[in-house]
């Protein structure tokens, strides 16, 4: 029994790879450039496939520093990215077929203890840089994520690098273990370690909406769902509501991670000049971050963060985390 429960069903679809097991059901799309569905205990957690993120809504210091005038191409890179390919490895065997006819050999009864799906991306920057995002799914449904920015000479400094999840609806809130308050690499000495419960998805109400809500040095974050998008409200297929295991958790692998969990993308924040110009909050934008540019603060009209808190785009950035 024990052995069986650690194996999952594998569906070799022509357009996507399906993985299903106890309390979970995942779809990895070959066309949409990423994981398309992440259902846990009957609840869908993805609205669009997670994609690498490269931009933060300019802070006042970024603007005064002229950071955007040097690094603005990352804004476009954040919006548009080319998926170059996907590799699928199931129990150590390369299973991605170049021709769907190859799938005809399967029966629908295939099981596996481990599946790894790795998407490779290429940024639209000039020159382009490569990113690999791999999902290593274990039989019990745990996903170990590995996100790797390969680095490229000749690119301007990065505002941040991470993986952005857009969840279907507005989360009820989140709980995390990490530092108190909003922290950044050069502003985290005052953060007190602990477990913090956040109601709703607060946007720090800076006069001009800007990047906010980053939590450095986090060990885990658990998202509590709000209302779902599904039309099913009755019967056994209705999404779970208020059940203890009805959450999405991101956990650290070998090192704490940074994240933000907001109702807006960087571009939505970037586009507003006042808080009230932000659109109605309807989704959850969870960014798990491998690198964050410092805030700076020596002034707001030229001086950026100290060099140690800038992100060199020529270097590699690699980070891991768990989705549970």
């Amino acid at each position: 029994m024990d052995n069986i429960s650690k194996e999952m069903c594998v569906v070799y679809g022509d357009c996507s790879l399906g993985l299903r097991g106890q309390g979970f059901s995942y779809l990895f799309s070959y066309g949409a450039g990423g994981m398309e569905s992440l259902v846990k205990n009957g609840r869908e957690w993805l609205y669009r496939p997670p994609k690498p993120t490269f931009w933060r809504a300019l802070t006042d210091n970024d603007r005064g520093n002229g950071f955007h005038l040097r690094s603005g191409m990352w804004l476009a890179a954040d919006q548009f990215i080319r998926c170059r390919g996907v590799r699928v490895t199931v129990d150590g065997v390369d299973r991605r077929q170049p021709d769907p006819r190859g799938n005809n050999r399967y029966h629908g009864t295939e099981r596996a203890a481990l599946a790894e799906i790795c998407y490779t991306y290429e940024t639209i920057t000039v020159p382009a840089a490569a990113v690999e995002v791999s999902y290593r799914v274990e039989g019990d449904g745990r996903i170990r994520m590995n996100v790797h920015y390969c680095g490229r000479e000749g690119l301007p400094g990065l505002p941040l690098f991470g993986l952005r999840f857009v969840l279907p609806t507005l989360a009820a809130g989140f709980t995390y273990e990490g530092l108190s308050g909003e922290t950044y690499p050069d502003r985290m000495a005052g953060g007190i370690p602990g477990i913090y419960e956040v109601e709703g998805l607060p946007v720090t109400p800076y006069l001009v909406p800007q990047d906010c809500g980053v939590h450095m040095e986090s060990r885990w974050v658990r998202i509590r769902p709000g209302a779902g998008m599904s039309n099913v409200t009755k019967g056994p297929l209705a999404p779970p509501c208020g059940k203890e295991d009805d959450f999405l958790e991101i956990g650290m692998e070998d090192a704490p991670f940074a994240f933000s969990c907001l109702p807006y993308t960087a571009l939505e924040l970037e586009n507003a000049l006042h808080q009230e110009e932000l659109p109605p909050a309807r989704r959850t934008v969870l960014c798990v971050l491998g690198a964050v540019r410092g805030l700076g603060g020596r002034d707001s009209w030229g001086t950026g963060p100290e060099p140690a808190y800038e992100i060199d785009a020529a270097g590699e950035i690699q980070f891991c985390f768990w989705i549970r």
């Binding site: 006042d60 922290t183 050069d186 985290m188 800076y206 001009v208 805030l295 001086t303």
Partner: protein
């Protein structure tokens, strides 16, 4: 004397018929009101006043002060309130530029060649100037308040105090001209006695948005006008302490205290006679007591009343020094007695014994190296602008103490009086700043260009800024919290700032003088400022200065510009405290965002608006929001970082 509209244009006219500035002490006429803390001789005039708005002086109701003037059809306005916030004139935020930039060509009178008068012939020489009095846009608020005198004030000499009127005001009572005042941020007082009646007084105030004072009040803030602080009448007891200058000192052993005292008394009726030097042996007495915080009597003395009293330093034995960690205050009580020993007036003042000095080029407080864990603070409320309440101030003090903020710079003008008392009792070190900022006159695109910098060294501007220094000093001189006087902000440096510095030094050698602007004109370095004060300097540059055998201890009067999501990299500044004794901390820019709460017509939500949101141009937009707190006074996330670092260097 008649009012002259041309005073608006003339930098040499800034106060007419004002009572000389004096200490901010409260006073009581008997033990009962003292015990109750009630100023029974004070009559508050805050509330609804009759009001008429005009776009310029030419279209104002110039005769409105006459008792028989027909004011039917006038509006009303609350006092205190900014006239813009009442909806009459544009709310305007701008930083460096003068607010008329691009709308009107102006140069300050008596500065560049061609604007000098041939000879000093008085105000008449300025008839043709009209820079403010004849401007097409220079709004005027005409205020009228009808009042009866409270019974407690009847039969006594009565004065009026305007704690803050921006930016130039004329005053009439019952049709008679009383006086004129500039300097928006210090009290302006006038004697009303010759014209006041018990009933049906017609008080008329004409407030002009801009005058030559506008050149001196170019602070980086929302540009308002109107009566924005309280107005009250007060009567004096028969014998009254006009001015109190208590100089408690902690002696060089840092244990013993001494108290020097200067008093200026005034009297009316029989008591006035007593103050004449020709009538010695009149029997009126001044009793002085000093109690410690537990109420034990530490010192007392009694002297005959006189117009001026100077009590040489008296030893008061061991004292508990005042500082941030233990803001221990002693209660000084001045009691004025008549010839039969009856109380005429009681004046309490809580004073502190402390010693601020520079030893081996390091500022020391009570013998210990001083560290400023400071913030700059504008008086601000999202709802009222610079009309703030006692509750706002108490809240701010709580934020300070909870987050280890031990110092405040009153950027860039004297604050409301209760703030100083709160800083005294909570041990908040103050750099109290004179109402002066003129960066628009020298900070130009491309760099410093001081060809018409005011006050500069121009003789016609000298008395105006000296008067600001004097009023500032005289009003607040007794507050132990004030460790340094500041000459103002970003006004460059010239003979006139040197004269302000000399004034403070002469009057008050026991305190230090601060001024940043001299680092932009080092020719005055030895004449202005006891400290090397800079703003937004990089830690590496500070280390460089401090490594090269500098003359003066170093502070940052502004640093860590907390605009929006900021305040990264504070560690590099705090580490300087460990490396250099002569680095003595700084003042974060700044405490609270300046933004204004309005209802958003689209969403119906209460929202915060900043520069440029009121059709105000030119503007510096969101540059008004650099606080550790949002404009509604909720803390920004950065505050925990401040709490951490300031907590490390208590």
């Amino acid at each position: 004397m008649e009012a002259d509209i041309r005073w608006l244009d003339d930098p040499r006219v800034f106060r007419v018929n004002q009572i000389p500035a004096h200490s901010d002490h409260g006073f009581y006429e008997d033990e009962e009101s003292f015990a109750a803390g009630k100023f029974t001789l004070r009559q508050c005039l805050d509330g609804e006043w009759q009001f008429c708005f005009s776009v310029n002086a030419g279209s104002r109701p110039a005769e409105f002060y006459r008792e028989d003037y027909d004011r039917s059809g006038w509006d009303s306005i609350p006092v205190p309130m900014h006239i813009e916030m009442a909806g009459y004139d544009k709310i305007h935020y701008i930083n460096v530029m003068y607010p008329w930039e691009g709308h009107m060509f102006r140069r300050p009178a008596c500065t560049i060649e061609g604007t000098w008068p041939e000879q000093d012939t008085g105000a008449a020489a300025w008839a043709g100037d009209g820079s403010f009095s004849q401007a097409a846009y220079n709004p005027v608020g005409s205020y009228v308040r009808i009042f009866d005198l409270d019974p407690a004030l009847c039969g006594k000499p009565v004065r009026i105090c305007f704690e803050g009127a921006e930016q130039a005001m004329y005053l009439w009572l019952n049709g008679e001209f009383i006086g004129y005042a500039e300097d928006s941020f210090t009290p302006s007082e006038f004697d009303l006695t010759p014209y006041i009646r018990e009933q049906g007084n017609v008080l008329a105030v004409e407030v002009h948005k801009r005058s030559s004072a506008a050149y001196l009040e170019d602070q980086d803030f929302f540009r308002f006008f109107g009566i924005f602080r309280s107005v009250y009448l007060y009567a004096r007891p028969a014998l009254h302490v006009e001015d109190l200058w208590a100089r408690p000192r902690l002696l060089g052993d840092y244990v013993s205290g001494s108290l020097e005292l200067e008093l200026e008394l005034s009297g009316w009726g029989k008591a006035a006679m007593a103050l004449c030097e020709e009538t010695p042996g009149h029997g009126y007495q001044v009793k002085i007591t000093l109690q410690d915080g537990e109420g034990s009597l530490r010192w007392q003395g009694q002297l005959p009343a006189a117009r001026r009293i100077h009590m040489e330093p008296a030893a008061v034995g061991e004292v508990i020094p005042w500082d941030n960690r233990r803001p221990y205050l002693y209660r000084l009580l001045i009691t004025l007695l008549d010839e039969e020993g009856r109380i005429l007036e009681l004046v309490p003042y809580d004073i502190g014994f402390r010693r601020i000095e520079i030893v081996d080029r390091v500022m020391r407080l009570n013998g210990r190296r001083l560290i400023f864990n400071g913030v700059n603070r504008h008086e601000w409320s999202a709802k009222g602008g610079r009309v703030i309440s006692r509750q706002d101030m108490e809240y701010d003090i709580r934020i300070f103490t909870e987050n280890h903020i031990n110092a405040v710079r009153t950027s860039h003008y004297p604050n409301q009086i209760p703030w100083y008392y709160l800083c005294d009792s909570h041990g908040i070190y103050m750099i109290s700043e004179t109402n002066l900022e003129t960066h628009g006159s020298w900070q130009k695109p491309g760099g410093d260009e001081p060809s018409w910098n005011v006050p500069g060294s121009f003789p016609a501007w000298r008395e105006a800024v000296l008067d600001r220094a004097r009023t500032h000093f005289e009003t607040f001189k007794n507050h132990p919290a004030i460790l340094m006087w500041s000459l103002g902000n970003e006004s460059y440096a010239g003979d006139n700032l040197a004269a302000m510095h000399a004034f403070f030094k002469e009057k008050d050698p026991d305190r230090l003088v601060h001024y940043e602007g001299v680092v932009h004109n080092r020719a005055y370095e030895d004449q202005i400022s006891d400290v090397e004060s800079r703003m937004y300097e990089w830690p590496e540059k500070i280390a460089e200065y401090l490594s090269e055998h500098p003359k003066k201890p170093f502070i940052l009067c502004e640093y860590m510009h907390d605009m929006g999501n900021s305040l990264g990299g504070m560690r590099s500044y705090m580490e300087l405290l460990d490396r250099f004794d002569m680095y003595q901390g700084g003042f974060i820019w700044d405490y609270v965002d300046q933004a204004i709460e309005v209802e958003d017509p689209v969403t119906g939500r209460r929202v915060l608006r900043y520069g440029g949101d009121f059709d105000d141009r030119p503007s510096d937009y969101e540059f008004s929001g650099n606080g550790l707190l949002f404009a509604d006074r909720t803390p920004k996330p950065a505050l925990q970082e401040v709490k951490y670092y300031y907590g490390q260097y208590q």
